[in-house]
Amino acid sequence: MWELIRANKRNSIILMACMAFVLMVLGFVIGAFVTGAPEGGLLGLLIATGVWLILTLISYSSGDQIFLAASKAKLVTHDVHPQLFNIVEEMKIAAALPAMPKVYIINDPAPNAFATGRKPETASVAVTAGLLARLNRDELQGVVAHEISHILNRDILFVTLAGVMLGSIVLLSHIFLRGMFYSSMGSSRRYSSGGKGGGQAQLIMMVIAIVAAILAPIMAYLLYYALSRRREYLADAGAARLTRYPEGLASALEKIANDPAPQLQVANKVTAPMYIANPFKKKGQRKLSNLSSTHPPIAERVKILRNMTHGAAFKDYSNAYAAVTHHKSVVPATALTKEEIALREGQARQGKQQRQKNQMRQVGDIMRKVNQFVFLTCLCGLKLKIPPNFKANKVKCPRCSRLLDIPKK
């Protein structure tokens, strides 16, 4: 497990260095072009680094809070959803995390989940209400284990930092291209007012700058996505190892993929790698979008997990991966120790239809509880749910017309 974390760290540093290089080249080229002199390149480099530094500081100090707030996630306690809370605690124990992650619920019908935070001590796990409504205990455990693996592998820090760097690159090239577009519309002759030789050099500079501004974000995205896909596989492997029950995560992923609910409201392209399944689902473009996709195809992830028939160790996942994709292993060789981990049986068993109906209702109640609804039970047995902005202090029961007092909070 530690070998895996170490290998991950090394990969992250390499990727960050690559992206930093792209960012600096971009800054240099843009600066050189705008001022028309190589010294301007240094200024551009400085500005690019400055933008990146500020964004990094912000995201490092409170990125997780910003992200959770932007996702409209609500912090919950054990009383709100005991099962979810218990499962997170189980996985915390299995992964030997130093502290219990904070648990959040997002009021969204699309089933999805993510983990965030700077380090394992201050991590958070968030799941959507749609996920809670559709999955049984084993499946939910698989999803939470996947998220805890992200925390354990330090993926959450990587996504935050790399995401910020990607953001700075995109921002810079965007501003530059916009500026180019408008200035060329206004005064197209501004840059060619110098001598003839200077004009030519300027033109070459401009072409280089535009090409760099167009290519840099694409390269950065591809790098980012390549590593984030790899991390999804690794988190799946980690989830199987923690739960010893790959089928739980496999069937959860299947349910998430086949869900008819609309895509998640609050996700965007940079935050997409944080989720367990790509929040932007488009059907019918699987093979083409492989390079530019944040997540491996779900069907493949499910197939790999279902191929783990011999055990739940990393080497079993690695073998299953090789059998399904015919590629070399995704798991770093140093993590493939000789441990033997047996699989276990699933626990969830219950009538399917009935459970789903109950769960939908429970999730509705959870969201109301989180949003500070008042719950009242009338003498006739009807349960009333009163929104927090209800002003009167009495309410009439719709079934038996009794007048009920609303308790003050």
Binding site: P82, Q83, N86, I87, E89, E90, M91, I93, A94, A96, R137, L242, Q347
Partner: protein
């Protein structure tokens, strides 16, 4: 002369640093083992606390199952009395078995299964069982690492000097738990 002294002094220093390093690593591993054990302990206590509630709630519905309740109560008392790892793993194994038998019996009482209070308790118990097994998983991993370090050369020399001793694994003693349950179609 001075060179030889310097080399010898350097070697002695190297050995001292090595011993300090190994000693600190051993202490860290031992603390991890202790910490993992306390994790199991917390969950075992939680299970002991849950059982009386569970029995109280179920008693009203399951009037003909005195034997089951007695088995659980007895197993609980034994588990709470255990005071070393070997005893505890045996007694807790028996308690786990008694509880899973109880859960099988519960399947015959649909009213009980619909009781909200019981459902909540059942979720807590399931989760506690899981936490115990996950904590055991991580405890055994830690013990394996610690025992390996103590027995392997050259750290075994340092371990012997400071009297570090091997730790027991937390295993399920009962063979019945490993066996495949019998299914009869009658």
């Amino acid at each position: 002369m001075w060179i030889a002294l310097g080399i010898i002094g350097g070697l002695i220093l190297l050995v001292i640093f090595f011993v300090i390093g190994v000693y600190n690593a051993l202490v860290r591993l031992r603390n991890q083992v202790d910490n993992s054990w306390s994790q199991i302990d917390v969950q075992l206590k939680r299970r002991h606390d849950l059982i009386p509630n569970l029995v109280e709630t179920a008693k009203g519905y399951m009037t003909h199952e005195r034997g089951t309740f007695e088995a659980i109560t007895k197993a609980r008392a034994q588990a709470m009395g255990a005071n070393n790892v070997a005893d505890a793993s045996k007694a807790e194994g028996a308690l786990g078995e008694a509880l899973s038998k109880f859960m099988l019996v519960v399947e015959n009482y649909p009213d009980l299964k619909a009781n909200q209070n019981f459902l909540a308790l059942q979720e807590e118990l399931t989760s506690t069982e899981n936490k115990i097994s996950f904590a055991r998983q991580s405890y055994n991993d830690q013990v394996l690492g610690f025992n390996n370090k103590i027995q392997m050369f050259p750290s075994n020399v340092v371990a012997g000097m400071f009297a570090f001793t091997k730790r027991d694994f937390f295993e399920i003693e009962d063979a019945a738990q490993r066996e495949v349950p019998e299914v009869s179609f009658k």
